[in-house]
């Protein structure tokens, strides 16, 4: 204790010593701060890892001397713990130069918080409490030590005042870390009051697919301001693409391409699902363009109705498509099932020791589906953000705000709108194909109008145009639809001895959400600043193309 208090009192000297030491190594302080962010972060992770290693040595030593029957080396190298720690630390730890300007009374609780999360995640990920403790201590020290030490040399280098990028980096990265490790901790999690069990991995896949679709619809509705009431048509198109090209649907032919784990003598078309996801996206985008070209010159409310018409026609075609002049295209009400599962084949599976499963459906858990869905979702989000900030994205916003002005400023209306449609359709198609592969089936009743409204409700709830809001709204509503409503109903019936089948009334619940949001908070839960301003000040949304007036 005394040692610690003396250390504290002399921290400036310790800090000076530290920086001088670094300077002797050829890395003086100001030079360190001029390093790129990732190098600083890597240095920090190395420091954290070193500290964690020391802590583990100390813990092992203590165990050896005081524990019962402990033996073996005091240096235990638990690889998985260090890998997990490095991943978590890289994601969680902000750039070093952001920290020294913060007062210590902020840094230390912050470090404790981040360290706690890192420890929790690492511990759960490796299913080992000690790893968690080590990672936690390592992270805390790595975070708290530099600013503490920096006290010694503060006056030498005035650092640019820079706020920690909490909203832009820390929160998304922490969310990503939580999402990646989800299958590890989900089974151990608490039960949410009223809503029931913590979402299972199966539910999480469902949620991810619907988040993908909501992000896709957000491009059309949120960015470009085109109300699409038939988004489910794109979803159906993607699903049936996957179903046609990776199943026994067309026994007349026998085409195999890269399909791993499928008997080469099996009839039907079997193309590897990996290719199909991309193909489904492209095909659906083409369908989007075909639908869009004649309809996009209509004004907003007519466009909504036309898309609704397509959304209504699609499931009926799917249902009646088992006898199109005697040709069975869609399997009719029975749908198409089974659909080939994605996988990496035995060779890769063996080589990676099962990390890449040979067949997703036979692994016995939804984990592989979950991580792949997460990967596709990240791709979707990345594209969506890049699109939003691109020239095209700015053109969408311009059209949304004032079509006449945008066209006067040289924005080509039709081309820009068609691109919005194609992009939205692309994501919807990928999501549909992936979902079909996950369920290994596709049925016409998956594509009714209420699904379109369900996805629209996600976008509206979260905040049109704001991708994080949309993700949040979609995750919440998809969970509600898959598990939450049934659990809530059970809870209600149990506590108030009623007998209500809550999921049956889901349409009404989404209706209430839509109306309440539109009336009370039209910008959504997490509004995009720009959208909010539009809703307050109003837009000039008279269409440039208006046939009838």
């Amino acid at each position: 204790m005394r040692f610690l208090s003396e250390l504290w009192a002399n921290r400036r000297n310790v800090g000076a010593l530290w920086w001088r030491g670094l300077g002797e190594l050829g890395l003086p302080r100001d030079r360190f701060h001029s390093l790129p962010g990732w190098q600083q972060r890597a240095a920090k992770v190395a420091l954290g890892g070193a500290v964690a290693f020391l802590v583990s040595v100390v813990v092992n030593t203590l165990e050896r001397f005081f524990g019962q029957g402990a033996s073996g080396s005091i240096v235990t190298f638990d690889r998985s713990a260090y890998i997990a720690f490095a991943v978590v630390a890289l994601l969680l730890i902000p750039e070093w130069k952001a920290l020294p300007v913060l007062p210590l009374k902020l840094v230390i609780p912050g470090a404790l918080l981040v360290g706690g999360v890192a420890g929790l995640v690492t511990g759960l990920a490796t299913d080992n409490t000690r790893n968690g403790v080590i990672a936690s201590v390592g992270t805390v020290l790595a975070l708290a030590a530099p600013p503490w030490l920096a006290g010694g040399a503060h006056e030498h280098v005035p650092l640019p005042a820079r706020r920690m990028p909490v909203g832009r980096k820390v929160v998304p990265l922490a969310a990503l870390a939580l999402a990646i490790t989800f299958p590890y901790y989900a089974p151990h999690m608490f039960t949410i009051p009223v809503f029931g069990a913590f979402p299972s991995v199966e539910t999480a896949v469902y949620m991810l697919v619907f988040i993908m679709m909501a992000v896709g619809l957000n491009v059309v509705v949120g960015y470009a301001g085109l109300l699409d009431l038939g988004y489910v048509a794109f979803y159906a198109m993607g699903a049936y693409t996957a179903a046609w090209f990776a199943s026994l649907q067309f026994p007349q032919t026998k085409i195999h391409f890269g399909a791993i784990g499928i008997d080469p003598n099996l009839e039907g078309i079997h193309i590897t699902p990996w290719l199909l996801f991309a193909l489904a996206g492209v095909l659906t985008a083409i369908i989007g363009v075909i639908i869009g070209l004649p309809t996009l010159r209509l004004r907003g409310d007519y466009l909504a109705i036309v898309t609704l018409g397509f959304g209504e026609i699609m499931p009926q075609v799917a249902r009646n498509g088992n006898d199109l002049g005697g040709f069975n295209l869609t399997g009719g009400p029975q749908g198409i099932t089974p659909i080939d599962a994605p996988g990496f084949g035995n060779h890769l599976a063996k080589w990676t020791d099962g990390f890449l499963p040979s067949n997703y459906l036979t692994t016995g858990s939804a984990n592989a589906f979950y991580w792949t869905a997460l990967l596709i979702l990240l791709f979707t989000i990345f594209c969506s953000i890049r699109l939003r900030d691109s020239r095209l994205g700015r053109a969408w916003v311009a059209i949304r705000e004032d079509e006449v002005a945008a066209s006067a400023m040289g924005v080509p209306l039709m081309r820009t709108k068609t691109w919005a449609y194609a992009c939205g359709a692309f994501f919807g198609g990928i999501a549909g194909a992936y979902f079909a592969a996950y369920k290994s089936s596709t049925f016409p009743q998956d594509f009714f109008f209420n699904i379109s409204v369900f996805i629209l409700c996600m976008v509206i709830l979260g905040g049109m145009g704001n991708i994080w809001g949309v993700i949040l709204g979609a995750a919440f509503l998809a969970y509600l639809n898959q598990e939450g409503l049934a659990n809530t109903g059970a809870w209600l019936n149990q506590h108030f001895s009623t007998n209500i089948d809550v999921p049956e009334y889901s349409g009404g619940i989404y209706g209430v959400i839509i109306v309440v949001i539109m009336l009370l908070r039209p910008q959504g839960l997490i509004p995009s600043a720009r959208r909010k301003r539009e809703l307050e000040l109003g837009t000039h949304d008279e269409p440039a193309y208006d046939v009838a007036h």
């Binding site: 301001g225 109300l227 009431l229 004649p294 309809t295 209509l298 907003g300 409310d301 007519y302 909504a304 109705i305 036309v306 609704l308 018409g309 397509f310 209504e312 026609i313 009926q316 075609v317 249902r319 009646n320 020239r391 066209s407 006067a408 040289g410 924005v411 080509p412 209306l413 081309r415 109008f449 209420n450 409204v453 629209l456 509206i460 049956e504 009334y505 349409g507 009404g508 619940i509 989404y510 209706g511 209430v512 959400i513 839509i514 109306v515 539109m518 009336l519 039209p522 539009e534 809703l535 109003g538 837009t539 949304d541 440039a544 193309y545 046939v547 009838a548």
Partner: protein, 350 residues
């Protein structure tokens, strides 16, 4: 991207531009339709006539709903998605009243039909006005899509109300509540009393509506508000009250349609309103949205298309494809002739 030709950048205001191939296509389409109709007439003439009468009867019911869409669109430029569901609740109410009045057991429908029309119409009219005041009025200044999205939400809420009220199964009433004796007969085609009653209720309603919009002061106010809200307000017209009044009228029409539909079809389900609402909206668009005679014409067309497609046998897609055909018509009309058959108008044209 940097250099766009002026041609691309400027919207082309081509009001009635129609390329020649398109014209040829539409002529071909009409020709095929005519051949199909005549072919069926030759194969089974009596059934054809029966379907014609049946189609006109259904068309009259759709006309009442379509007028509600047209009225509201004319004044607010809002597609009132919830309208079909207001109609559905009216029909649900009718099934309840049929039980309450003991119709078909001891009461006579001809005695009770007038009170029933009044009760249901008051109910749906009040409901529609309430929806307008609560859900659409606060969004008067909002972007155009905001009330449309709200209307979809309201539609889902009303469907759920119907679901909670009557359950998921179709609600049926006795199917001979309306007298079904034949009045006249063309071959096999029976024109029965129940069809006549549909016309007896709907035709005077349509005449009354035209009179209301054309001749009364309130109708004049509606037309004024439809034309220019600001100017109407300057002239001393209470815009909000006029809009509410329009919703009231639309609700009354939906109520009439609900009573007639429930008694004539004898079968209502919680999602009937959504499907028929879309049919009626298609009818309104087909005739030219905002155009009241157009809505009636469009509704008759839709009724005929539905009945012919469901009933005919010679080269007919059949019931499975009815929705697809009607929505395809909706899409084609909106894409190629958004002003409809008779031209889009606000009620100022009547």
């Amino acid at each position: 991207m940097a250099t766009q030709t002026a041609d691309e950048a400027l919207p082309k205001f081509r009001r009635s531009y129609r390329p020649a191939p398109l014209q040829a296509l539409s002529v071909a389409f009409v020709a095929i339709l005519a051949v199909w109709l005549i072919g069926n007439l030759v194969t089974e003439p009596s059934h054809w006539v029966y379907l014609l009468l049946q189609g006109l009867t259904y068309g009259m019911v759709y006309a009442l709903i379509a007028l509600g869409y047209s009225l509201v669109y004319g004044i607010l430029e809002l597609i009132n998605f919830a309208h079909g569901d207001v109609f559905m609740l009216g029909a649900m109410m009718t099934t309840t009243l049929v039980g309450a009045f003991g119709l078909g057991v001891h009461g006579s429908v001809l005695v009770w039909i007038l009170p029933m029309l009044i009760i249901v119409a008051v109910f749906t009219g009040a409901l529609n006005t309430f929806i307008e005041v609560v859900a659409y009025r606060p969004l008067r200044g909002a972007p155009r899509l905001a009330p449309l999205i709200t209307a979809i939400g309201i539609s889902f809420i009303l469907q759920t109300v119907g679901l909670v009220w009557k359950g998921p199964a179709p609600v049926s009433i006795r199917d001979n509540i309306l007298p079904s004796g034949q009045i006249f007969r063309i071959g096999d085609g029976n024109f029965a009393w129940n069809q006549l009653i549909v016309f007896i209720v709907t035709l005077p309603t349509l005449v009354l509506l035209v009179w209301l919009v054309q001749k009364t002061k309130q109708g004049k106010a509606m037309r004024a508000v439809a034309q220019d809200k600001d100017a109407a307000a300057i002239m001393g017209i209470d815009v909000n009250r006029t809009i509410s009044f329009t919703f009231l009228i639309a609700g009354l029409l939906a109520g009439f349609a609900g009573v007639i539909y429930a008694l004539f079809v004898t079968n209502v389900q919680f999602d009937t309103g959504f499907r028929l609402g879309l049919f009626a909206f298609t009818a309104a668009v087909l005739g030219g949205i905002g155009n009241l005679p157009g809505a009636v014409l469009g509704a008759l067309c839709i009724g005929l298309i539905e009945q012919f497609n469901n009933g005919l046998t010679w080269h007919t897609p059949g019931t499975d494809w009815t929705n697809t055909i009607i929505f395809a018509i909706l899409i084609l009309i909106l894409v190629f002739r958004p002003e409809g058959l008779l031209g889009e108008r606000t009620p100022e044209g009547g």
